[in-house]
Symmetry: C2
Subunit: 288 residues, 2 copies
């Protein structure tokens, strides 16, 4: 397998991208990597160049670029070149931490979609209290979804949970405003029927509707949502976590001596709790 890597995408590129690659190379001994970006910097950061081809590029797609135009305006960017590599068959997949909008649009225009999947969806793995985490999609690739799209997301999400996260028979739930089958918008009710049918056919393991209140408790391995609601829920989780930690910090900082000492004593434990926030936050900032 050959993977095209956009080394220049994301806030801490190319450092974080190449550091990740160094780790991945240890596990994926048979995979070849085509790395697009600043050759000098990449070479400095790489631990070894086994199975690696560096392809120098001169431009970088950033968050200010109009997603619809990067294919034309930034032809020699690491992102567009990496996408082209998949399009031309030189690579089998692309990894990029750059602007999600640009990646989504350029990917759609250049590489296209899986046959019969009408709309792309954004998926992230979020942490849950039981430690297993869950995959949620769509997180905002679409502002208006149809029930058919959600049916596709159920299949894609289930496949991802099974083959990427190694979960057997992943439980798929549909995000609604109540756990009862009768709850939901017209579109969600229609999607519910389609997911039941997929379950009947043995294609997914559908466990019914779930509410946003329960998703962090690990009620399912895959949460299917329309892009508008999925986006709002992820951002609400992210905003709430950030608010709680801000308040906790200021409570301890502005507290009396007793509170301050208490704060110092539990500081390390709070950090580990906070990492939960970064997972959601990281997922969030990806597609903002």
């Amino acid at each position: 397998m050959k993977i095209a890597i956009d080394a220049m995408g994301g806030d801490f590129a190319p450092e974080s991208v190449i550091k990740g690659l160094n780790q991945a190379k240890k596990e994926l001994q048979d995979t070849e990597f085509l790395i697009f970006g600043d050759e000098t910097k990449i070479r400095e950061l790489l631990e070894d160049e086994k199975n690696v081809t560096i392809l120098p590029t001169t431009e970088i797609v950033d968050f200010h670029d109009d997603p619809l135009r990067v294919v034309k305006t930034k032809k020699d960017s690491s992102m567009v070149r990496a996408i082209h590599a998949v399009n031309s068959g030189e690579a089998d997949a692309i990894v990029s931490a750059g602007s999600t909008g640009a990646l989504l649009t350029a990917g759609l225009l250049q590489i296209g979609r899986i046959k019969k999947v009408e709309r792309p969806g954004l998926l992230t793995t979020l942490p849950s209290t039981d430690g297993t985490g869950f995959d949620m999609l769509d997180l905002g690739a679409n502002a208006d979804n149809k029930a058919e799209h959600l049916r596709d997301y159920a299949i894609l999400g289930s496949y991802y949970a099974q083959h990427v996260r190694g979960i057997k028979n992943p439980r798929v739930a549909l995000l609604s405003n109540g756990s009862e089958e009768s709850k939901g918008s017209q579109m969600i009710k229609e999607a519910h029927g389609m997911l039941k049918e997929l379950d009947r056919q043995g294609l997914i393991n559908f466990v019914g509707n779930t509410e946003a209140r329960d998703i962090l408790d690990g009620v399912a391995d895959v949460i299917v949502a329309d892009g508008f609601t999925g986006n709002a829920v992820l951002k609400a989780i992210e905003g709430t976590l950030s608010t709680v930690f801000k308040l906790l910090k200021s409570t301890i900082k502005n507290g009396n001596l007793k509170t301050k000492i208490g704060g110092i004593l539990i500081k390390n434990d709070l950090s580990s709790l906070k990492s939960m926030g970064s997972s959601a936050g990281g997922g969030g900032s990806l597609w903002s």
Copy 2:
């Protein structure tokens, strides 16, 4: 003004309802109260009976009752009788902490809507980090909204913030998947245009779109959302807060001696933080 009170609605009724009334009576010296419920219990809990009429009822609407049928099946319930009092003109308004679905449906069937307001909306006041809080609606009275409903909610929410919370020229924001005007579903984009028009007419102070990530930071005094998304966002906030406090508690409980001592020292401060959670949770449980 005469207010009808459903004394038997809610988890801690009639105690919490009458305790609240005892407090309210001190501020609202000129208001008359019609209290529907268990006469003996109400009399025991009331501090004084000035401006109070107790109207005994024999039934209680609970969360298992079918909202569509309570008007017929629980005619002598405190909720239905209190609603009838408004309908017949004996009272000007009703206060109930009972099943939101039942209150909404029975209220709609018996009392009806404000002229030109096509759909009722659920509103709650949520806490924000700047301490002022904000009103959000619709939180789930509707699963499918049209842009026109959101226009009505902007006016209703603005009026509420102004006249109930005393905020001058309240900032109204529209919940979307991005702060830019171009973001949103077709319906949200249409609603955006309508809110801009209301602002132009001087009817509301529209500050544009906001994302769920920022609402707890006090970006606006009123957040307008469609019922499906508003419901999901409120439940996501609620679920995240409950998850964080659960994790915090277990972190301290399962921690080493240092962590445990730290936990004891900051316990009181955590309780005050947690009250933020209950505000959201309380709002949440109302309409679940």
